[in-house]
């Protein structure tokens, strides 16, 4: 069913939003979905009329589509990193231009608020909804196109709500409070995850220097020194990767290759066995797929994203069985990581992908394994940069957890190394 303005407005209203000025908060970015407007046939003939609040608003005339229906709704969004300090009010005109010349035209480097965004006609014929990413710091853009049927939009937005990705900041204070809390969380975790291991290093090193420690006493100290140093380095590594993906979104996405997710999942599990202490009695099964399933991406980043989720399941789920299942359906590749562990309380579902969130009960009786609370956040961020999604799938059972990676399927022998994900169907 074609998406028209009324339908999309109905979707927004049905989901409890009075207007479409809402924020999709995904990890460290916020996407503002603004109100729809019909697109005009000619850019030059666009006229501007003041709206009720006195702001100028572009009005466009409808374009007749091939089937005779009224033209495309122009549903646009702005994706800001978490350093945004001002809200864009509903009804504002949007910054003009684009950075990806393959799609839109020459890049622009400054986007004063109040300028107008525009999409070429041919692009709108291929995708009905655009989310355009803007980083105020670097003025770079990302783009994610969604399937445009109303059912698909409703499903996608419902998923975002269920997983906690979609939040509606009702006023600027709430948004700033959110940012403030993120900063506090970072301070707390840095203090704990970096300072504690370094305190261990400092203390034991001091005792060894002072002397009077027997060889037998010293051996566990050397182990502790290595462990603590490694832990601090891992914390730095994770934070560094988080920050670099935040501020430099597109720099590592210029070279993408087809990646077989079945093989990659097996490789990730092999690495986990080699690097981590697997709980006794845990049975892990990696389901083999009869066909190779390709997605396009940066292999080491995809490895990292899957590693974080899989290692969480292995170390923290209290599961007896874990199934890792790759597959493909309807033009998408997926990878499920399913465990029969204690599960995640529904009240926490919207929190798990937040930075620095940690399940307060996951470390019970597993002392000394507290992490940064960045793994799931990082994984989701990486997957979204690859045009995919990472979801926490609700379980019917009272326990157990399924994390699902979803990507557009890629053609393995494609020579195009762009970020476009070509559907196989």
């Amino acid at each position: 069913m074609a998406l028209d303005q009324e339908s999309f407005s109905a979707v927004g209203t049905a989901l409890g939003y009075q207007s479409l000025a809402c924020y999709l908060v995904s990890g460290n970015s916020a996407t503002v979905v603004l109100s729809t407007k019909e697109r005009k046939t000619s850019r030059k003939s666009a006229t501007k009329q003041p709206n009720n609040s006195g702001r100028r608003k572009s009005t466009t005339t409808a374009k007749t589509g091939q089937n005779g229906s009224k033209g495309w709704p122009e549903v646009v969004g702005l994706n800001f990193n978490h350093y945004i300090t001002e809200l864009i009010p509903s009804g504002s005109v949007l910054p003009i231009g684009w950075v990806d010349s393959r799609y839109f035209g020459p890049a622009k480097t400054s986007w004063p608020k109040g300028s107008q965004i525009y999409f070429p006609e041919q692009e709108l014929q291929h995708a009905k909804i655009f989310f355009v990413g803007i980083s105020p710091k670097k003025r770079s853009f990302t783009k994610m196109a969604l399937d445009g049927s109303m059912d698909a939009v409703s499903r996608r937005v419902s998923q975002w709500i269920d997983s906690g990705t979609l939040r509606h900041f009702v006023n600027e204070d709430a948004f700033h409070e959110h940012l403030r809390q993120l900063n506090l969380d970072l301070q707390l975790l840095l203090d704990h995850e970096m300072r504690n291991p370094l305190t261990v290093v400092h203390g034991y090193a001091n005792m060894l220097i002072e002397g009077g420690i027997s060889h037998r006493e010293a051996m566990p100290m050397y182990d502790a020194l290595c462990d603590a140093t490694l832990r601090a380095l891992k914390a730095i590594d994770k934070l560094s990767l988080t920050m670099s993906t935040e501020f430099d979104r597109n720099s590592h996405m210029t070279e993408t290759l087809p990646v077989d997710i079945g093989s990659l999942a097996t490789r990730v599990y092999t690495d986990i066995i080699a690097e981590l202490k697997i709980p006794e009695g845990l049975d892990v099964k990696v389901v083999s797929s009869t066909d190779r399933i390709y997605v396009r991406g940066i292999k080491h980043l995809l490895h990292r994203a899957i590693y974080e989720v899989m290692s969480n399941a292995v170390l923290h789920s209290w599961a007896k069985h874990i199934v890792i299942k790759p597959g493909a359906t309807e033009g998408h590749a997926f990878l499920d990581i399913i465990d029969d562990g204690k599960g995640i309380p529904p009240a926490s579902h919207h929190l798990v992908f937040q930075r620095f969130y940690q399940d307060p009960f996951s470390q019970k009786e597993k002392i000394g394994t507290r992490g940064l609370g960045l793994g799931l956040y990082l994984s989701r961020h990486i997957i979204e940069e690859h045009g995919g999604q990472l979801l926490l799938v609700p379980h019917d059972a009272t326990h157990g957890t399924t994390f699902r990676f979803i990507w557009p399927l890629a053609i393995a022998d494609s020579e195009d190394s762009s970020l476009t994900f070509k559907r196989t169907a």
């Binding site: 707390l188 203090d191 704990h192 300072r195 504690n196 291991p197 370094l198 305190t199 261990v200 400092h202 203390g203 034991y204 001091n206 005792m207 002072e210 006493e217 566990p220 502790a224 462990d227 603590a228 940690q358 307060p360 009960f361 996951s362 470390q363 019970k364 009786e365 002392i367 000394g368 507290r370």
Partner: protein, 129 residues
């Protein structure tokens, strides 16, 4: 004279470091990995001469543990030293209001930790003499 020291700290290597330091001084150290387990020990009849308490722990944080200790009729006056990576003023003030003897900021020198524990054990001994 052997003193009983309760260490409530979620970082296992830090637990071991603190235990090693204080056992070298002749104290008997009992460790708990979270606030809940620490309070269970106290509720089970364990009476420490001093408590070393981490602030930032999963589940129950150190200040909440401290409030519970102060509400415990048997252990309400036990000296408590807070181990902290935080320098936030509000945490310090809350601790002072709850009768914390002092803060030891991480990282600490082993001799510093041993000396401060000895000082507060000595203070206690003087009061009971």
């Amino acid at each position: 004279m052997t003193k009983n020291v309760l260490v409530i700290e979620d970082e296992v290597h830090l637990q071991k470091l603190i235990s090693f330091i204080l056992e070298k001084e002749g104290h008997k150290v009992t460790a708990a990995s979270n606030g809940s387990d620490g309070l269970k020990l106290l509720a089970g009849g364990y009476v420490p001469d001093i408590v070393l308490l981490d602030i930032l722990m999963p589940g129950m944080d150190g200040l909440t543990v401290l409030k519970n200790i102060r509400a415990d009729q048997v252990n309400k006056n036990v000296p408590v030293i807070l181990l902290t990576a935080l320098a936030q003023e509000n945490v310090v003030l809350q601790g002072i209001k709850l009768g914390v003897k002092e803060y030891i900021r991480k990282p600490f020198l082993p001799k510093e930790l041993a000396a401060r524990v000895a000082k507060h054990l000595g203070l206690q001994m003087k009061e009971s003499a």
